[in-house]
Amino acid sequence: YQTFEGDLKWDHTDVTYRILNYSPDLDASITDDAFARAFKVWSDVTPLTFTRLYDGIADIMISFGKKNHGDPYPFDGKDGLLAHAYPPGEGMQGDAHFDDDEYWTLGNGPAIKTYYGNAEGAMCHFPFWFEGKSYSTCTTEGREDGLPWCATTADYGKDGKYGFCPSELLFTYDGNGDGAPCVFPFVFEQKTYTSCTTDGRDDGYRWCATTANFDQDKKYGFCPNRDTAVIGGNSEGEPCQFPFSFQGKTYTSCTSEGRSDGKLWCATTSDYDRDNKWGFCPDQGYSLFLVAAHEFGHALGLDHSNIKDALMYPMYKYIADFSLNQDDIEGIQYLYGPKKGPKPTPPKPSTTTSSPVSTPKPTKKTPKTTPSPTSTTTPSVYTPVDPSVDPCKVDKFDVITEIQGELHFFKDGYYWKSSNRGNREHKGPFLVSERWPSLPAKLDTAFEDPLTKKMYFFADTSFWVFTGQEVQGPRRIEKLGLSASLKKVEGALQRGKDKVLLFSGEDYWRLDMKTQQIDKGYPRHIDVTFGGVPLDAHDVFLYNGHYYFCRDIYYWRMTSKRQVDRVGYVYELLNCP
């Protein structure tokens, strides 16, 4: 390994990063996840922690750009240079830039996250069968509205699982259009556009108006690339046009003719010789995770290694099951030392199902030739707990909350208590009905009002308020100003004496305890405020001044400055042996 001259390194271990923009190739959530995993590669072997910022200046500013993108080192179109990053320091130092003329994937072909439909945001499954035909790309077959879709299992006819693929007809990203889809036709500088355009920009990014008149409303967003879109060339984002003619010959598929580098390309109109419109055909793409992990190595102070299997080797190589080479570990630990404390916890299978994404919005958008699904949600497996069962083997509690200084763990009508004071052994099980009569067995969240010490319990769309054993409720959660479409409240964080944050799915609301109403400006996305915790946490609670986000048997602990400082097992909190 090599370090930069002078052993440039960060003088603090809590390194911050900010993602300034996104690539049209990948869904924002996949990009966020790839970067988070790339940082974890390094934090797993050093004392470094990485916290994502959403505004202001971070140590590592991450951006996508093409060719001349604002620094003295322009990119070079597709392939060749993939990315670069600067060693630690002020200003542009530490920043990482990714060439957006590359096709960014997870390294093995299109990584297409679906929207709506009934697959809860699952990835497309390619190839998939539909009506006796195999599809390796998203398709508009079976629909009249032109929305591309895909199956998320191998056989749509058998499983009926599908979702919609990214397209400008579904949403835009960045800009100021709040993610709204393009409106076609739209007017820009008195000209009418019927598709996304790069006009008015010099960075090559395709955009559209999200109202019918940009000149008037100034609302716009960037167009996500369809999986069938060409990469680079002079027609980025357009689909190949088959057949097309080139030098008098007709082509019905991508070709490398006319190029000395063997790369496959296609024309995006029917006649290349006449229109000269072309682009490269989508390929396996480059793994954003692997390239980012390499670039972040530079941003932390590592220079290129001459060990071929090292992550810091300058050439790109796709590896399906990546792990750091010993050379990389020695390099980064030379700069920052080894990780102290327990080793990171490997994930292990859970006996309950958990959805990685939020519940899809109900939609009627199904391929027209197939029946609509009867349900848009995946049922979760409900496991009753025998009171003799050891709580240390419960893999997912209904509720965890602090009541009068003790942590309470609820599951199926029973609860256990644990404390970090005195005898640290957990106590229980106790019957919920004995202490808080009239509550259902299955609760979703609970919290103690810090001022009045009243207990609030939530189950499905109802809530109860207990003063001692005296109960008010059940009342509908809409009474608090929450949306009627909300299915449940899954977590609660007390903020000061008169505010409580309520969590559901990927959003949270702020409840004013005095007015018993949700404050204006909510919901907000969890990711915006609480970066680095799982978005599908099913328990959120405050304990000893820390925020805890639980997923299955794991918890993510966050300081009041919103930095994740520990990931551990829930049974540590239960003081299990």
């Binding site: 179109g77 392939d79 670069h84 390309w265 530079h298 001459n306 050439m315």
Partner: protein
């Protein structure tokens, strides 16, 4: 049927990677990634011969150090890679 297929290469508009000869590619690569100019012992920047630069590149990339623009070296130069120079001056 034995006639060789004669390809005509064209310049594609918007394509930044031009049809370079191997020598042009090598010169560009060695310059861009820091192999052609190195600091001497007194700290001054000094140009090195192409052969020396190639040896250095071959050493860095774990190739046989021939000092010549051989096929493995050309192939390595065509690989997708990180834009950070290998030799920092």
């Amino acid at each position: 049927w034995c006639l060789p297929i004669k390809s005509t290469f064209v310049t594609f508009p918007g394509d930044l990677i031009k049809n370079m000869t191997d020598i042009e590619l090598a010169e560009s690569y060695l310059n861009r990634f820091g192999y052609m100019e190195v600091l001497d012992k007194s700290g001054r920047q000094a140009a090195v011969s192409t052969s020396k630069a190639l040896r250095r590149l071959q050493n860095q990339l774990g190739l046989e150090e021939t000092g010549k623009l051989d096929q493995p070296t050309i192939d390595a130069m065509k690989q997708p890679r990180c834009g950070v120079p290998d030799v920092r001056n």
